[in-house]
């Protein structure tokens, strides 16, 4: 069946590839934090063991060991013990299998720092903020950057001479530098915009006009800090893509035929867009990383801030929960772009049909 549907075959093939990538990512996510010798139970115990006698401290430690899946548990939910009465530690391999099972159930364990809270709860609260910040910046930044790049390549002259170095400069500024600069100039010096958090202190996240107004007011600076950098990077790529397209025969021919400039620009834009779309898939990881760090600069209540507090408090379950979520989102976005390119690019379509 698949042979008769080249597009479907493409999608299935890519899906398989991303599944493998996902498995590698989850393995990395599990094993890297466990390279060090830090142990979540020790971290919590250091906090709560004060003033406890030895027996109740041990009982508490065992309860935590059980909670973080570090000891073997029998069918009745009791901790399994060796001959000397010590709890049997789960092997790393077993832990990994348990972890995979938990991930599939959407359970990412509990946070060490904010202890009884579940990681998934913390992430659920942070995720909408990150999505609201990153999705529009990347999509609009990509569109406007590409428009500017194409225009610069077509017009050349003063516009290009001005735009190109500016775009290079914008893409060279690290996201956090630009963020700090905005905080200082527009937040602290001019006091135009708030610089810390995502909404006014007295409000709670809800669907009201007051909250929306406050949130959009806080949104301006973080948005601009990521947006300009994305625009710069995309404009550079699109410009060189379009200069290449301008030298091709079809553009020269279209010009000789006297086709309207705007129409030629449209053709050119369509052809140069495809490599840019693939480029977007590859650059997405870097963009998301930069945006996460921008979030930290503005103490924006999203995932970036969650990662930062988790790192400061050695909260491994929270760190790996956040990193896993970011990786999975980047993989999903990449997969969508891949599928989209398969639909849009006539060359890929033709190659697949010819190969059949």
């Amino acid at each position: 069946m698949l042979q008769n549907h080249p597009t479907l075959a493409h999608i299935v093939g890519r899906a398989g590839w991303y599944l493998v990538t996902f498995l590698v990512a989850i393995t990395i996510n599990f094993f890297l934090p466990r390279l060090g010798d830090a142990n979540p139970v020790d971290t919590i115990m250091a906090k709560v063991s004060e003033g406890l006698d030895a027996a109740s401290a041990r009982a508490k430690e065992e309860a935590y060991l059980k909670e973080f899946n570090l000891v073997e548990v029998d069918g009745a939910g009791n901790v399994r013990r060796d001959a000397r009465g010590k709890p049997v530690r789960t092997s790393l391999g077993r832990q990994f299998i348990n972890y995979l099972g938990m991930c599939l159930r959407g359970d990412l364990g509990s946070s060490v720092l904010q202890h009884p809270k579940r990681v998934s709860e913390i992430i659920k609260a942070a995720l909408p903020w990150t999505l609201a910040l990153q999705l529009p910046t990347i999509v609009f930044g990509w569109l406007i950057g590409n428009g500017l790049g194409a225009l610069a390549a077509y017009k050349r002259g003063v516009f290009d001479k001005l735009m190109y170095p500016l775009a290079l400069l914008a893409s060279a500024i690290p996201a956090f530098c630009f963020g700090m600069l905005l905080v200082y100039v527009f937040g602290i010096r001019l006091e135009w915009f708030p610089t810390v958090g995502g909404y006014d202190d007295g409000l709670t996240p809800e669907l009201s006009l007051a909250f929306f107004r406050s949130a959009s007011y806080y949104y301006v600076l973080p948005f601009s800090s990521v947006f300009l950098i994305v625009v710069g990077g995309q404009a550079i790529g699109m410009r060189s893509m379009c200069i290449y397209e301008l030298g091709t025969d079809y553009v020269k021919y279209a010009k000789l035929l006297g086709i309207k400039e705007s129409k030629i620009l449209l053709y050119m834009f369509r052809n140069a867009m495809l490599p840019q779309l693939t480029g977007l898939a590859l650059a997405l990881g870097t963009m998301v990383g930069g945006a996460l760090i921008a979030e930290m600069i503005f103490s924006y209540p999203g995932l970036g801030m969650a990662v930062l507090t988790a790192i400061q408090g050695n909260d491994y379950p929270l760190i790996s929960g956040c990193t896993l979520l970011v990786t999975v989102s980047v993989l999903c976005a990449n997969f969508s772009v891949d599928v989209l390119v398969g639909f849009l690019d006539p060359r890929i379509r033709a190659a697949r049909q010819a190969g059949k």
Partner: protein
């Protein structure tokens, strides 16, 4: 020689090279004129720029100019080391896969693409967070090099694959050269300019990655880097205290270094790839 003449004609190259050489000189010659002891509290916290301290002092009262030169040295060191590791690993993987083709190439390509898609900052965060003790500048540079090589491998592979069917490669094979010999002596020389451009971009990426890690509080424990200066300024309220000298010069330095590397790269691209030159 003609190459150099062409390069010198490009205003971007001249600008980028002079900026880069300037920062390099500052990093190399700075220690001759300045006391780079970053633990030396020469004044009070956040003193404004004055004749004694040209760029003021940081939150500990250390002279900012000493901090900046020390930070610049570390950041350039990370850039060179991480860039070299990333470029050599990427080049080797790319050249080998591109020349060999077949199953080995497929495996290497799948592996490269895999790590290209997984955000490298995430891997960096996970790795650095797990190495709590002994996170030295050199170790961080090596880790960065080992996580950012993927796109240079991808870029080099495409170029190597286009060379593998050239006649001189076939001749070398007939003459009994081994795979490694062919890759190094008969394919790499054609790609040197390309590899050099990759190295420049990898260096910029290394400097930026280290700064990002430092901003997260995962920076080196044994040295001051530009990213660490920014992180300290942020965590010690330099922004709200209005102590612009504690962060603005570091921002300018890091942006200058990365910007100069970017425009050197674009100007090289223009010279090596005449289609872009007009």
């Amino acid at each position: 020689m003609r190459l150099l003449r062409n390069l010198l004609k490009s205003p971007f190259f001249v600008l980028g090279m002079s900026l880069f050489v300037l920062t390099l000189l500052l990093a190399l010659l700075g220690p001759l004129f300045l006391n780079l002891d970053v633990n030396n509290r020469a004044g009070l916290a956040y003193m404004a720029p004055s004749a004694r301290h040209w760029l003021g002092t940081d939150h500990m009262g250390v002279d900012m100019i000493s901090m900046l030169v020390a930070g610049l040295r570390s950041s350039l060191y990370v850039g060179f080391l991480a860039g070299s590791v990333a470029t050599s690993v990427g080049t080797l993987v790319g050249l080998y896969g591109g020349y060999k083709g077949g199953v080995i190439d497929d495996v290497l390509t799948v592996g490269t693409n895999l790590f290209l898609v997984i955000p490298s900052l995430i891997v960096l965060i996970l790795l650095s967070a797990s190495i709590e003790n002994g996170r030295s500048l050199t170790l961080i540079a090596l880790i960065i090099g080992c996580t950012t090589w993927t796109w240079s491998a991808r870029a080099v592979r495409a170029q190597a694959a286009s060379l593998r069917n050239r006649d001189h490669v076939a001749l070398a094979r007939i003459n009994g050269y081994g795979t490694l010999g062919i890759v190094i002596f008969h394919i790499m020389p054609y790609l040197l300019s390309y590899i050099f451009m990759v190295f420049i971009l990898q260096m910029a990426a290394g400097i930026l990655s280290e700064a990002s890690l430092s901003m997260l509080g995962l920076g080196p424990y044994d040295s001051v880097s530009l990213g660490k200066i920014l992180n300290e300024a942020k965590t010690n309220e330099a922004l709200t205290d209005g102590a612009w000298w504690a962060f603005a010069p570091a921002m300018v330095l890091i942006t200058t270094v990365v910007f100069s590397l970017y425009i050197i790269n674009t100007s090289l691209e223009g010279v090596f790839n005449p289609r872009l030159r007009k």
